[in-house]
Amino acid sequence: MTLLPLLPTVLFEKLANTLLKKDAQSPERLRRLAGKRIRLKLKELPFTTTVSVDDAGIYISTADSDDVDCCISTELGVLPELQDTANLTRLIKADQLDIDGDPMLAQQLVGLFKSLDVDWEGELANTLGDAPAHWLMTLWRKSRSHVEKRLEESKRWFKGVVTDEKQLLPTREEFNEFKDNMQQLRAKVERLQRQFGERKS
């Protein structure tokens, strides 16, 4: 159990630091956070995760029990909600979140990665060559815009459903159609039952 969480942690740390290195702004941003330590305790996981920042990058440890500047205890499902500061008080009151120490620190840490300015196509071209990189990026952009469009559509649909409460109730015609369908279905079932009975005898 001690080693199991280590591999993903080490890989994630490597990825994070590789990304940080690609942005010329990172050293400046890292310097502002250097020396800070944040711990994340997730109810679902049997170990805690500690992130330490220094001016060269971040370190992630699952075996660190020394003091930290900020300790966040929460559940996996709550994580996405933490993005919005407006949710924090509500989550704390609901016992779904506990923050010990400087709450801004976690947001600053996430900010480190959110504000990354990386030329992905250039990076990919370096490792894969120009043509495949261009093809991959086009594919990525297409799927992104596709996903975004679908997301937008479903949002609009959902909005329509919930804001217009009456829509939640079926209209007269809808109800009549439903009734007709039900009658047809019942007739079908009875017919089947009869046929089944005849065959048995």
Binding site: T2, L3, L6, L7, V10, G35, D54, D55, A56, Y59, S61, T62, A63, D64, D66
Partner: protein
């Protein structure tokens, strides 16, 4: 201390004169130095990297600290410590064997690990450092090769700062009988053959397997540390106890 009745000691499964063990161990590492890193990856399927990384994670290392990596060999731990203590800190890579030390120095230089690392040829039993001079001491896969382990534990305690910690990463006793059997088979049948093929040196790897079996188990090493004067001693098994990480503090 020196006038023991039985003046022989284990070298793997053999008994040798106490005075002889050091040079025999030296021969082993002299002969494996060049292929040491390759063999480590092969023998442990690369898992030794995780054992070492876990050791770093448990060390509590911070910017500006002074770290001693004794029996440091080819410097895997030193490289990671060097990055973490930064230019204000210092890491001393110490080993009794200059061939291992040289491989370590060349490797770290090639990797750009320079500036805050010092290389010292030293015997863990008689460390040539001032009292209270290190925040962290690590000895990874080294203690089992040391002739007088109690003496080495005391010597390390002396140079540790109050509040500092010692971490011992070493092969230990697998907790399950099945694993133990599989591990025995692996160490005595496969390991020396791998040593023969890759490093053209079956004897040294036979010695490694034997020395692992002769090394004190988890609880014994823990009580040895306590006897030497370490406090809050604990240990954690890794890979089913094939390896254990012992930790103790000086207060």
């Amino acid at each position: 201390m020196n006038d023991r009745k039985d003046d022989s000691i284990d070298f793997g499964y053999q008994k040798v004169a106490r005075s002889e063990k050091k040079s025999l161990v030296a021969n082993v590492f002299q002969s494996v130095a060049a292929k040491y890193d390759v063999m480590n990856d092969l023998m442990s399927f690369g898992i030794h990297r995780l054992w070492k990384r876990y050791t770093i994670d448990c060390s509590g290392v911070r910017k500006g600290m002074k770290v001693l990596d004794i029996a440091g060999g080819t410097g895997d731990l030193t490289a990671q410590f060097s990055r973490r203590v930064g230019p204000e800190g210092e890491v001393v890579l110490a080993d009794i064997n200059d061939a291992m030390l040289k491989v370590g120095r060349d490797k770290l230089r090639d990797r750009g690990v320079v500036g805050n690392v010092r290389y010292v040829q030293a015997d863990a039993e008689e460390l040539p450092f001032d009292d209270n001079s290190f925040d962290i001491i690590t000895i990874a896969f080294g203690l089992r090769n040391v002739t007088d382990k109690d003496k080495a534990l005391r010597s390390m305690l002396r140079v540790l700062k109050p509040g500092g910690r010692l971490l011992i990463l070493e092969f230990s006793k697998p907790v399950s009988a099945t694993l133990n059997q599989a591990y025995d088979f692996y160490s005595f049948n496969i390991l020396p053959k791998m040593g023969q093929v890759v490093a053209n040196d079956a004897d040294s790897y036979q010695y490694l397997a034997e020395s692992i079996r002769m090394h004190p188990d988890q609880e014994t090493l823990k009580s040895m540390m306590e006897t030497a004067g370490y406090e809050k001693v604990d240990y954690q098994n890794m890979t089913g106890g094939v390896v254990a990480l012992h930790r103790g503090y000086k207060f």
